[in-house]
Each structure stands twice: as C-alpha cells, then as structure tokens.
Symmetry: none
Subunit: 132 residues, 4 copies
C-alpha cells in the first residue's frame, strides 16, 4: 500500500511517515488496527528494517501510532498531543503559504486552486475527522 520513490529528495523514512498518515487520514487504517511489523514492512518495501523503525518512531512521536512492547504497533486513538498542536498548526500554515506562493508563480487561478483542494479533501474520506 506504500510506494517508495528511491530518487525522491524526501528521505525514505519520511515517505513512509507521510504515506502512513495518508492511509490513516483516508481511513484505510482504522483506530487500534495493527500496523505491519517492522520486519514485514521492510521486506515488502525492500527497505532496511532500521529505516522502517525510524518511521515508526517518528509516527509515535507525533502521536499517530502507539507501540506496545513485544506486541506490535497500532494506530493511536486520536487524542491530539496536547502541547504539540499549536506548533504543528503554525507549521501547517507556513507550508500552506509556500504552496500558495508556488501556485501563484505557476499562474494557477484562485478558483482552480480551491478545486484542487476540494479534490484532495475528498480523497480523504469526506467529512470524517471534522468532529472533535
């Protein structure tokens, strides 16, 4: 379910983080569902186990998954790390600005941009997650 692009400038472990978050946002992975083990996933992606492990640790740090010692790793209940949120919110806005600037440079109209945004929004399960 995850595609690795070896030639991307994003580190592999970040690609895994990214796509795992997408899978969870889309609802492909549900709360409390077990993720594939580090070894499994590394074999499947043809990637070193350490690299997958690093991704999992990063996802855990972000509160997206939890690891239960000796049992495996699971999709976390969405409870939102209390303090982290503000920081990540700021980060989000900075990234949004970058994307908007890029769009302007490419001559994308505001209307087109909103359409694209909606398309992406819908890819991730309509109106889930909104209620919190």
């Amino acid at each position: 379910m995850i595609q690795i692009n070896e030639r991307s400038m994003l580190p592999i472990y970040e690609q895994i983080v990214q796509q795992m978050k997408e899978l969870i946002a889309k609802g492909v992975m549900q709360e409390n569902e077990k993720l594939p083990s580090v070894r499994e996933l590394s074999a499947q992606l043809l990637v070193n186990p350490n690299t997958v492990a690093k991704s999992f640790q990063e996802l855990e740090r972000q509160g997206i998954i939890v690891t239960l010692r000796g049992k495996g790793t699971f999709v976390a209940k969405r409870t939102a790390a209390p303090g982290m949120e503000r920081e990540r919110m700021d980060h989000l806005q900075t990234e949004l600005r970058r994307v908007v600037v890029e769009a302007r440079h490419l001559g994308v109209s505001r209307e087109q941009f909103i359409i694209w945004t909606d398309e992406e929004w819908k890819r991730f399960g309509g109106d889930a997650d909104v209620n919190r």
Copy 2:
C-alpha cells in the same frame, strides 16, 4: 528584505529561493528588475556567497530569473521556461496533498482551511497573475 532562519530544516539556499519567489509574486520585484549581486546579498544576509550563488542557479533553473553575463541577474519575463512547468505543477499538487493530509490529522475543518488559503492568497496581491 529576506529573512534567514539558520536552524530551519529547509536549506538556507532554499529559503532564499522561496522568499525571492514570494517577493516576485507580491510584485515587490518586478519583471526585468535587477537583483542584488551574489556578493552584495551574501554580505547582507551574512551567508556564504556559495549559498547565495546556489539559490540563483536554482531560480534560473526554474526560469524565475535570468543572468546576463557581465550585466547581472534580472527577474525573468514569465513563461521563460515552458518545459519546467509540468514538473512544477506535479510538485505543487504533491505538496498540496501533504498539506491537506496534515490539516486533516490536526482536525482542521474544510472551511477553516479554505479561509486560510484565501488569506494567503490575498497576501500576494489580489488577482494578479491570473490571466495568462
């Protein structure tokens, strides 16, 4: 006019590229306007000249600026590098997706997201660039 954050995870040269593009998008820098020289800018930003040079090369690669030997560097007329556009357009959509995923994970509503988008859009000069 450019602010460098030494401890950002974005390379310094990318920060320069990014902000230069913002300045042009905002219209602070106009077509055919001359940019400061590498030496000037590096002195001003307290950054290694190599780093500034790298930014200019990247901006040129993207068709945003042009360097005229012996004369200096100038803001390019738009449509300078038609071939690049497809690539950058794809890149834009990828980044947009990432931002949307992040927003969903943080529980941002579609409405809020659109509002933010509009705010950013307005920061860069209303309806310029739309007609092409």
Copy 3:
C-alpha cells in the same frame, strides 16, 4: 568529559543525552558554545557515530541544543519549548515520586533525603537558571 558505561541498562545514546544535559546544567557548556562534532565525540567515547548522532537529535528535539546545517551543533539559548513543558513537568513529578518511594523503602529519612537533594542541587551551579 562524558563517561560511557557499556554495562548500564540505559542505552548509550541516553547516557550521552543525560550527561550532556548535566554539563549544560552545571554551566560547563555555555549558551551558544559549540559541541564537539559527531565524529569527534564518537572517536573520543569509542562509540559509533550513529549513536552520538542519535543523542544529538534527541537533545535537539528537547530544545537543549540546535544544529546549524554544515556548521555544527551548539548549546541552545534557553527559551523553553512552549508546549512541551507541561508534559515534561508531569514526567518530572512522576520520576520524583519513584525516587521518593525508593528512598522510603531503603529507610532513608526525610532529612537525609533533603540533604542529598541539596548536594545535587549545589553540584549544578548554585542559583543559576532560577530566574526565568
């Protein structure tokens, strides 16, 4: 300045984190001072560079140090990560409780415990850091 105990149950990278924090708390390392490079320190401690790197990343995550790309890593200005604090404060209290419980089990008197606390407190520079 750092002592590694290979036989400790604390991971090596945690020992480095721990002791680096002590050095900074004691004032041996000052704000903005440059840390030894990953390679240097790894050679000195007879430890793999990856292990030292992991320590540095953890220290950065905690806001204790900052890394400047291509320049090195430096002791951070103490500005206290905004959101993290509450979490770490709770963690601190939990650890304090554990230590107190252990002391009670060993029959240490309250007075003795306070004396030890004061000794440790003095080891780290008397009254520095208190004003914030």
Copy 4:
C-alpha cells in the same frame, strides 16, 4: 490496586514492581501479608503470567517479598537482603541526580522542588520507616 500503562516506556513488569513497592511503602500491604498469586494477578491485570512472575522474581531479588514453596508469596520483613542495599542506595542517588538535572533544565526552583518532595513524602504515610 495496580494500574498498568501498556504504552509506558517502562516495562510492564517494572510497573508492577514499582507499584507493589508503593503499596508496601504506603502500608496498604503489611509485613507478612500474602500477595495474590501470579495467576490471580495476571488475570486481574490482563497481563501475561510470565510478566507477573518476572515482577515477583525481581521483588524477591530486592528482598521486598519472599516466596515460600507451596504456601505463596509474602511481604518480607524489612532488612531481608542486607547486601542489596548498597547497590540500591547508589542507584537511588543516581536517579536523584537525574531528577535534579531535569528540574534545573525546566527552570524549577530549589524551593519548589523541596515542596514537591515533601508532598510525595507525605503521600506515603508520614514518618513511617524512618526508625531503623
């Protein structure tokens, strides 16, 4: 009476050890009192019996409890394992230092720290255990 946090970085068996010690320090469990059996406790905590067994072994190693073959496990008379004490005393001081360092980094004042210490001290039954 014992709470297990599956996702703590402390091993589950250590959590049991820790909390059992707290119960004894608080006087909830008295000298010579019988502990629940491994099977009982494991069923109650929804934890693997092996894990509970490991906790009991550790508590016995520390001289906190004793197992009498065929009879069960009991809270030991204090001073059961005199040789262990030096080791645990050193460990205690190391941990105390860690906590103090952490407190300094978080900008906690000496006074506040003492107050917290007293609070924890009082949680565990005033002045018991002092006389020995």
